[in-house]
Symmetry: C2
Subunit: 455 residues, 2 copies
């Protein structure tokens, strides 16, 4: 049988031994991060106060196209990688499309998403450096879970500042993190100055990601042998996620699959950036003709309606300034069930590629996303995370366009995770209680008003 | 590198094309099911009123060692099979044992367990027979989810009678089933005579599996082109689950793994019976020397403290009589978080093999089970279902015994599923709120008093 298998599993020996550094291939680099006080490019020394040394080196590396994945870290990766590249035979049949549809599925590990690729790497380097504890923030909870798994594996203490409303709405996420030994602190908390200040001003606050970041940063700065880790946006996180794209590209080459279209959801941009990395490199070098689409929620449209400007990474305005497509750090995303895509900005690499017209961006409304997710679950068996289903919705659109036009395109999308912890959202959709939110121009203007003046 | 990989994935071409019928190999057959009215062996015609024709043939087949898996069904299996056989390198290192530990992991599909193996087969045969709707009951919800997935794939209507207390305690299980298009009816309901009768007697009842079975059976009998399906206990369910054992055996042979010990959890016995089937066949034929251990909860000890007797399969006492190890259909299992193991009886095949001393049984208390589950999650990354963790707990015991004795045994256990929907139980464990329940001799006597008089 010469038919492509349903699931292409590379062997563990075929798993990439390097990451792909897209910045070493780009014709023009993204502008550097700036120190918000001096407006000068941030230095490695400044970054090392917060992040592990090796991660800072990776963050600033613009020359090495390939960066080795240490052998010991590859042993951890072998517990959940290579992940499958799946041919969506049943979805193709259901849509009655001449297109071939493939998806790279990152949801086969307990954290339920691609986040573990970077969590494993970041905790590995922390361990190497003799760091004994880490702090982070989490909203939807996928990052917190992945990090707790990695910290359990390497024996490192973890404090997760979880937005209070999320901790209350998703008690089971908290339980998973605790089962892996992580300490979950609903934020704002009494354990930090930042938290106490916010609670004094508003004892009833349900918290925000900005506040959780401030608390996590404060603990990292004040605790010996402690560092802060972040699950998206930054260049080193995209670097780690490039293992998704490398595996995908190798599987495609092995089976003679030539994608015309690669689609991913984009929140902070790490999964999308990782998936496209080696394909984009080939495109930049004129070796491939692939169309890339980043899909974001219509409720938080940083690429499709944002500005390309220097902005803070957090709502507390404490981080270095990053040149990116942004809605302004003060933009308040309206309620949307894809918590992982509810971020005001976008990776500077993805932003630069978008600005230079190497990729397209589309915004999708959430009812359409859940319609696609439900269809997919019923024919392909996997219950997608709402985030992942953004990419799926556009992949299905494109497959239906092929049906119209008769084109036999090869469509590949990233299915970043599973929706086991998003069932309240599925219930709303099933019961017809889900609505769409699209920010008005006034909403956007209020967000843009919070952009710092840099130039 | 000649080291066994972390995860052994067979190719889709290597996936078994047949099931393994253990009854064709057994030296002595389990006694036949009896009609509870006449006490005569049940006939195919009687069974066909409730079950699909082909499933009845499989149920009664005692001669064909191999039964073909239809090509079209194998295409469905390819969406989630072959499942991985994993070498627990990290668990071995953590336990510092000379033993090799392997687990066959059935939790990689959205239903989260092995149940989909039989759900897919049963719905396939229903479709072949022109059946347009199915009914079933579900307690913990894994079976209901698996069946909803299979019904979505084949386009068959499904009504799931879900024990009312479970539907309330596990609302997300209900949501998953509904997302796959299944209709969930909390039981007892007003939709059946049986349900209305029970509600009239006790409007506040929280339901029971016995009642849910009665309602599902009633609808199946009264509805045109409708049949009832069951997720465990019966011989045809064990037959379908033998794909677990066949894949495991083939993977072992391919990599030169010779298990000394095979361990599985046992509720109704279908996963355990399926995992051991071809290995037990080899043992019966004198071709392998393997020790088998069925693990059950101390709170519901049908093998270790039950009687080998004819009994009803349901608490409503409506099914045919099955010769099995049982605590009596009226036995009320004390609360235990492994809902899938909270059943009074045991597969007649597993019971007969146990009676004839081909296997050992052990009972484990739930705090010990969750201790093992948490340890496993932290070093192997997978969050196990409480049911599966019963097998894990005994595998860890055996590995530690090897450490004592210095023996280099090869231990293999079945990891039947994931614990994403059992986080309330994990939370209880994390917060030290979990207690153990062991039935007293008086509790058992009350159960045994409900056994029917047959001889």
């Amino acid at each position: 049988m010469s038919k492509t298998p349903y699931k292409i599993y590379l062997t563990e020996e075929e798993m990439p031994k390097v990451w792909y550094n897209l910045k070493a291939v780009m014709k023009e680099l993204p502008p550097p991060m700036l120190n918000p006080g001096t407006l000068k490019p941030i230095t490695a020394e400044e970054l090392k106060q917060v992040f592990c040394d090796e991660l800072v080196s990776q963050e600033l590396n613009t020359t090495d196209q390939y960066i080795e994945i240490p052998e010991a870290l590859r042993n951890f990766y072998r517990m959940f990688r290579p992940s499958p590249l799946v041919r969506a035979y049943c979805l193709e049949a259901m849509l009655d499309t001449p297109a071939e549809i493939y998806y790279k599925f990152e949801g086969t590990n307990t954290s339920g998403s691609h986040k573990l690729n970077s969590a494993a790497a970041q905790v590995y380097y922390a361990k190497q450096q003799g760091i004994t504890s880490l702090t982070t923030e989490t909203g939807a909870g996928q990052w917190g879970t992945a990090l707790a798994m990695a910290c359990a594996y390497y024996g490192i203490d973890l404090q997760v500042f979880m937005v209070k409303i999320s901790a209350e709405q998703k008690p089971y996420r908290k339980t998973v993190i605790e089962t892996y030994g992580g300490k979950v602190i609903p934020s704002p908390s009494n354990t930090t100055e930042a938290g106490r200040k916010i609670l004094a001003e508003d004892p009833e606050t349900t918290g925000s990601l900005g506040c959780a970041i401030s608390e996590a940063l404060e603990v990292a700065m004040k605790t010996e042998n402690c560092r802060y880790v972040l699950g998206s946006v930054l260049d080193h996180v995209l670097l780690h996620q490039s293992i998704i794209g490398l595996e995908t590209k190798y599987a495609c080459e092995k089976y003679g699959i030539e994608p015309d279209l690669i689609i991913g959801c984009a929140g902070g941009g790490s999964n999308f950036g990782g998936l496209i990395a080696p394909f984009m490199g080939a495109k930049i070098n004129g070796k491939a003709d692939i169309h890339f689409i980043a899909v974001e929620p219509a409720s938080c449209p940083s690429l499709t309606r944002g500005r390309y400007a220097y902005d803070f990474g957090d709502t507390g305005q404490t981080t270095p300034l990053i040149k990116m497509y942004t809605l302004g750090s003060g933009f308040i995303p309206s309620p949307n069930h894809a918590g992982g895509l509810r971020y005001h900005g976008m990776s500077s690499i993805v932003s630069k590629l978008y600005h230079d017209k190497y990729l397209e961006a589309r915004a999708v409304e959430q009812t359409k996303v859940f319609e696609a997710a439900t269809t997919f679950a019923r024919c392909e068996g996997i219950l997608p995370a709402p985030e992942s289903a953004h990419a799926l919705a556009v992949a299905m659109d494109e497959a239906l366009q092929c049906k119209e036009s008769g084109e036999k395109k090869t469509i590949l999308f990233g299915l970043t995770g599973t929706g086991y912890f998003d069932l309240a959202a599925y219930r709303d959709y099933n019961e017809d209680k889900m609505t769409d939110y699209i920010p008005t121009d006034d909403d956007l203007a209020r967000g843009f008003a919070t952009l710092p003046k840099v130039d």
